[in-house]
């Protein structure tokens, strides 16, 4: 380890400890970046040279599909390969109180004595500037800590959680039998973001039906007709090694450099920032300019697309 330089700051000292794998330092970096503290800009600058190495794997799906349990089993498979793992488990906050019960890691309890696994829970609200930017900064913190794989677990229930899942390099969408009708899964649009579809709880009645429904949904899709559909039983580990191999196969088929990987994440952030901006602009009332544009759309003088382009130009 190199000697601390005479002009070393608390921020650079923290990053040195993070790079040395000190758990408390990683925990602190995650917090500073989550909250975008006054120290965050310098911390982000300090870690920039180390980023883009980690593979980010997202797990999303409806409540009760078994995401946490599958993540627990997937961690085991990764550890058997000797890979280090960071987990960011996102749980919803109450829209009323802002509070949250963060219980995902109850089901990831096999790894508390393993220094190669670091799990952090994240509540979805209370994030000034959005959940997704916070999650991306926390991914960077794990990346800087040298984690080989970063797992992002989110409930695919609300739009913001899907947004977070989209940040992952490889996205796994879970379903399980008995969670509502199968059209529901397709309606939610999360099929389109999936790189791998998983039917978990494959030992339960109805699993085969769910599997076939997903398979036919995939085959009908014009966007993602080659998405693999797999079966797992997270509680026993059945199918999990195969899932890990599938992830590796997809990763190998891509020619992502660390730079393009990070740029893809930034691309998502940019898209949402732009959408947010337009949304705020359009929701503002009263606004004579927006009213005029709406009238043009209603009268057919402009298509909504043309109007949106005009709006973007003037923002």
């Amino acid at each position: 380890m190199r000697e601390p330089e005479a002009d070393s700051t608390p921020q650079s000292a923290l990053i040195e400890r993070v790079r040395a794998g000190e758990l408390a330092a990683v925990a602190r970096l995650l917090t500073e970046l989550e909250r975008l503290s006054p120290a965050a800009p310098q911390l982000l600058a300090e870690i920039a040279p180390f980023l883009g190495r980690a593979q980010v794997v997202g797990f999303t799906g409806p409540p009760g599909a078994g995401k946490s349990t599958l993540v627990n089993a997937y961690i085991k498979a990764l550890r058997a390969e000797g890979k280090t793992v960071g987990v960011l488990a996102v749980d919803p906050s109450s829209p009323v109180s802002g509070g949250a019960l963060l219980g995902d890691r109850i089901r990831m309890n096999d790894h508390t004595d393993d220094d190669g696994v670091f799990i952090r829970s994240l509540a979805s609200r209370g994030h000034v500037g959005g959940l997704t930017p916070a999650a991306v900064r926390m991914i960077d913190a794990f990346d800087a800590a040298g984690k080989d794989v970063i797992i992002l677990e989110t409930v695919g229930a609300g739009q913001s959680e899907i947004d977070v899942a989209e940040v992952a390099d490889i996205r796994i969408v879970l379903n399980a039998p008995g969670l509502g009708d199968d059209i529901q899964a397709m309606k939610s649009g999360i099929l389109d973001i999936a790189d791998i579809l998983v039917v978990n709880k494959a030992d339960l009645d109805g699993a085969e039906k769910t599997f076939r429904h997903l398979l036919s949904a995939v085959h009908l899709s014009s966007i993602k007709a080659d998405t693999p559909v797999m079966k797992t039983v997270a509680t026993t580990g059945e199918g999990v090694v195969e899932l890990a191999q599938q992830v590796l196969g997809i990763a190998a088929s891509r020619s992502e450099t660390p730079k393009t990987r990070r740029r893809n994440r930034a691309r998502r952030l940019l898209a949402w920032a732009a959408a947010d901006m337009i949304e705020r602009r359009v929701s503002k009332r009263p606004d004579a300019g927006i009213d005029a544009v709406c009238d043009d759309i209603l009268s057919g003088r402009m298509t909504p697309d043309e109007a949106a382009i005009e709006l973007l130009k003037s923002s």
């Binding site: 408390a24 509070g99 952090r120």
Partner: protein, 151 residues
């Protein structure tokens, strides 16, 4: 039911609290209720199953960067608290405030406070008292720790 939540001032980043049980007792109704109180007061609560080992509690407190650890004890598991306090200290978590709730005899309470436990909540304590106490301890913990990294 009338909802009369205590007024607790929370920052935009709510207190983070680990609610857990150590030892062999699995009666977690109490810790679950307290966890719900804290969540409904706007806090981020990391909840565990009962039967946690001391090393697990330390690891969770560390990874989750919590401000307060709340331990529920109904059948003498509080006698393990000095060991937990020492382990937290050793892990560099001296800023984390630790509270105990449940059945703790008076003599033992003195022992726990001497070991560094911030407060013991006894049977009959009201929701508001718990919420306000935990919020105040969380604020103290954060203040104490923020000194570590000059910002």
């Amino acid at each position: 039911m009338e909802r009369n939540m205590s007024e607790v001032q929370l920052s935009s980043f709510p207190p983070r609290v680990l609610v857990t049980k150590i030892g062999f007792d699995g009666h977690d109704r109490g810790s679950r209720i307290v966890a719900s109180f804290l969540r409904d007061a706007g806090m981020e609560v990391i909840e565990t199953a009962p039967w946690q080992e001391i090393s697990q509690v330390v690891r969770l407190a560390l990874e989750e960067d919590v401000d307060v650890v709340g331990v529920s004890s109904l059948s003498a598991d509080h006698l393990l608290m000095p060991k937990l306090m020492a382990a937290l200290q050793e892990a560099g978590l001296s800023h984390v405030k630790v509270v105990v709730g449940g059945i703790v005899p008076d003599d033992d309470e003195v022992m726990l406070l001497n070991a560094g436990v911030a407060q013991v909540f006894h049977p009959g304590v009201g929701r508001d008292e718990i919420v306000e106490g935990v919020a105040a301890f969380a604020a103290q913990a954060r203040e104490q720790r923020n000194g570590e990294l000059v910002t």
